[in-house]
Amino acid sequence: MIRHIFTMMWNRKKSNSLILLELIVTFLVMFSLIALLIYNFRLFNLPIGFTANDNWTITIDTDEPLDSNVFTGLREYTEPTAIINIRDEAMQVLRQINGVKALHTINSLPFTTGGLTTGAYRNGQTEFVGVMLVSEGMPADIGMKLIEGNWFSQEDTGQDWRSAVISKSLRDSLFGNEPVLGEEITSTPSSNANLRRYRVVGVFDQFRKEGEFAEPRHYMFLRDPLIGERAAFNLLSSFSLLMITEGVNSGEFEQQLYTNLSALQSSLPIVRFSINPWERLQREHYIENVSPIIAMGIVVAFMIMLVGFGLFGVLWQNVIQRTREMGVRRALGATGSSVRKQITLEMVVLGLFAVAIGFVIVVQLPISGYVEALEWSLFWSSLVVSSISLLCLCAVCSLYPSWSATKVDPVEALHYE
């Protein structure tokens, strides 16, 4: 029977090639959407390595002039005392608010891109690394998990190296199975004037500052020496604080915070301040990433519906055109179900061809490496899901036409000459 169907389809290649083309295009569209969905779903399911609850970032802009001479990235410089004073005063006031469990400095907002980066070089290998400058105790306070060594302490005070806690991914790519604690990483291979040296004191599991929908990247945590030598890294005319609360109603708390900061603004040279609860940042991050996917999904669903109608129409037309053939087959002893099987099989075989041709097209993507995110495991799972979807679409679209083919009355079909 299968061979007969192949013969039949080959002899009808003209009308079948059109359906095939339609199926291939559908497959390609389905594949892209499904790859995108699986990609994002996987990212979403990876842990971000910290909790967003109860954390608030407060960013304060002062009117201190911006001294571009001292801005050298991660290089130490002496912070303008004016800013230090403003920060200390602000912290003193904020710490006294009811429900504040801890107060830290931090250099970058979570669930956003941007922030500090550096190279991390060791043994002929350089990795690109995100850098967080935070005060002691901050990582543990946001629920990060240490898996080797310690969080930094003040041991690097006055040294020409900084103690660094690195992510497991960075540890794996630079050190592999070798011991890591006490080892040194530098910012560049060459020892030029801008070389910065880091001594690894600990390894943490994961930190995805950019949020659930961002590709994980290497991270390195450095101590922002808030207390002690008072040198800071990249804090110019503004600074950010991380406030960790406990048992507060976030609406009321935000109101309270606003009142306190406004009062502060009238006594200190604060130009403006902004309050960013991490939960809100996270929610915005979700909306920002999920909305385009939903929009695209709607467009694609609509398109697949149209294609489905098209397929359905073409198939139905096909059955009507072949009413006589079906009548002949019935007259020669075909049962209704074997006629239905034939139509469905023809469609599914076409679907398989579309999948095969589609495969040859999409396999170019991971081979060429043109779409970086589409690595092999994502490719295979998208391929499987989109192939099954296409075959289901074929089967569904041939349900009614094949059923109507079983209703062909041989006498009626052969009556018309």
Binding site: T7, N11, V328, L332, A334
Partner: protein
């Protein structure tokens, strides 16, 4: 072999009801060669369709080899049709998308016959009708007489006991028609096939053992 008892058939179209058969009782013996004659529209094709289990009678009973078919399910009727009956139509009804040998194989697709066996049986059937040289041709590349021979090969490929032919020579000139008659005659005489043929042609009807005449849905004696 085939027996009809008081068979009636009405066609119901929008507002007209056509009484195509009005109580036909007819018995056809094994290996008989019977022709059915009558004016156009008198119900010959309808009668043949009912004998060939392509249509169900409105009233009356149909017996095939002594078994009453009326209450059979569609699936079982299809099986009987496939195994016991061969059909030849006036307008050949070959499938244009299939070549000669693929057309002839069709009845065997609906039985459990291996692909190799199918090829062999189809080639044999085509040899019987003298078309061994045209296996890969498509129906449109053949003359009317050749197409009808393919149709006969298709009807007999499954070795049915009964061959029903509805004006098989109606579209052919008399020489081609005679060739078709020779084939039918051979089938009946050499293989003991029961042949029932509808025709308008007195001369061809006379080559049969028995002539059944019809008029307005009834047998004429």
């Amino acid at each position: 072999m085939i027996e009809l008892k008081d068979t009636c058939k009405t066609y119901q179209t929008k507002n007209i009801e056509t009484l195509a058969l009005r109580g036909i009782s007819l018995q056809i013996e094994k290996s008989e060669f019977v022709s059915i004659m009558g004016p156009s529209g008198c119900g010959k094709s309808t009668l043949l369709h009912i004998m060939g289990l392509l249509a169900r009678p409105g009233e009356g009973a149909v017996y095939l080899e002594g078994e009453k078919i009326n209450s059979y399910r569609d699936k079982d009727v299809a099986r009987l049709r496939n195994q016991k009956i061969g059909f030849v139509f006036q307008s050949y009804n070959l499938i244009p998308d299939l070549n000669v040998i693929d057309n002839v194989e069709i009845p065997l697709l609906y039985r459990s016959v291996s692909g190799k066996e199918r090829r062999k049986l189809a080639a044999e059937a085509l040899e019987k009708v003298g078309l061994s040289a045209r296996l890969r041709h498509f129906p449109t590349e053949l003359s009317g007489g050749q197409q009808q021979r393919v149709a006969i090969a298709r009807a007999i490929v499954g070795r049915p006991k009964i061959l029903l032919a509805d004006e098989p020579t109606g579209n052919l000139d008399s020489k081609m028609g005679d060739e078709i008659m020779d084939i039918l005659e051979d089938l009946q005489q050499l293989e003991n096939t029961t042949v029932v043929m509808v025709t308008h042609d007195e001369e061809k009807a006379r080559r049969c053992q028995r002539i059944v005449r019809m008029f307005d849905g009834q047998l004429v004696h």
